[in-house]
């Protein structure tokens, strides 16, 4: 099944509000739902949403001719994450080359079957490659793939 077809089936089986998020609040994990598949969907949804924010930040940084490092947001699957990750635009583009890869703050990688694996670990940042179901979602919702 192709990525878009898979995404379509996921949306079809969820309700009309689409995916639900994972939120780590003061009272623990919020967002509802049980099971590995649903969790993988929710984590992936959070990650692709933060990636969209970074795409916007990167574009604006170029317009503002920002030199040096740009304060991107951590793209981990925790919706309540407030961490920033400082990268040059060239470093960021390196992460963005693969639609399945996400930028995370050190120690923020959410890994496991249908979630992802760490493929790069630097002092300032890490890169997580989404695998299985969440990898399909990451590809299907890559804003650069839609161009």
């Amino acid at each position: 099944m192709g990525a878009l077809a898979l995404l379509g089936s996921l949306v079809a089986k969820s309700d009309d509000a689409g995916f639900c998020v994972v939120w780590r609040g003061s009272s623990g994990i919020m967002g509802g739902g049980e099971g590995g598949v649903e969790r993988a969907e929710r984590v992936a949804f959070n990650e692709v949403t933060f990636r969209r924010a970074n795409e916007m930040i990167g574009e604006r940084a170029e317009e503002l001719a920002v030199t040096g490092r740009v304060p991107f947001v951590c793209e981990c699957g925790d919706a309540s994450c407030l961490e920033r990750v400082e990268l040059s635009l060239a470093e960021y583009e390196g992460v963005r080359e693969d639609a399945r890869c996400f930028l995370v703050a050190p120690g923020h990688a959410i890994t496991g079957p249908d979630l992802g694996r760490v493929i790069r670990s630097e002092t300032r940042y890490g890169v997580v490659e989404k695998i299985g179901l969440s990898g399909e979602i990451a590809e299907a919702r890559d804003p650069r793939s839609a161009d």
Binding site: A17, V21, A53, A79
Partner: protein, 109 residues
């Protein structure tokens, strides 16, 4: 609260969180423009709309945990009510039941 209402509430909270990070980051990068482009906070998981809002309006809305900025026509009367309609976006307020989630997830609270 139904499952759908809960999903919308958490999705709205996620997009608010993302918009807060965008606004903060742009400011730190030296962006002094009077308006900023943010994501629609309607809570529909598939929504990809962006809206441009004045920073003053953005700040006014952020003073209320239960209020969100959405693209025109993206309101859902069963979960929120329209407070104000402007040229390209609307300000909505969550109904009391769903406002509990909005308050619990407000990064400024």
């Amino acid at each position: 609260m139904t499952r759908r209402e809960e999903r919308i509430a958490f999705n709205e909270a996620l997009f608010r969180q993302v918009n807060e990070r965008i606004e903060e980051t742009l400011t730190d990068m030296g962006d002094r423009s009077a308006s900023i482009e943010i994501f629609c906070e309607c809570g529909q998981g598939e929504c990809m709309e962006k809206i441009r809002v004045g920073r003053d309006v953005y700040e006014q809305v952020r003073q209320h945990s239960a209020r969100f900025l959405i693209a025109l026509g993206h309101d859902a009367p069963d979960v929120d009510r329209v407070i104000e309609t402007l040229d390209t976006f609307q300000i909505v307020e969550k109904h009391p039941e769903e406002a509990v989630i909005a308050r619990a997830t407000d990064p400024r609270a």
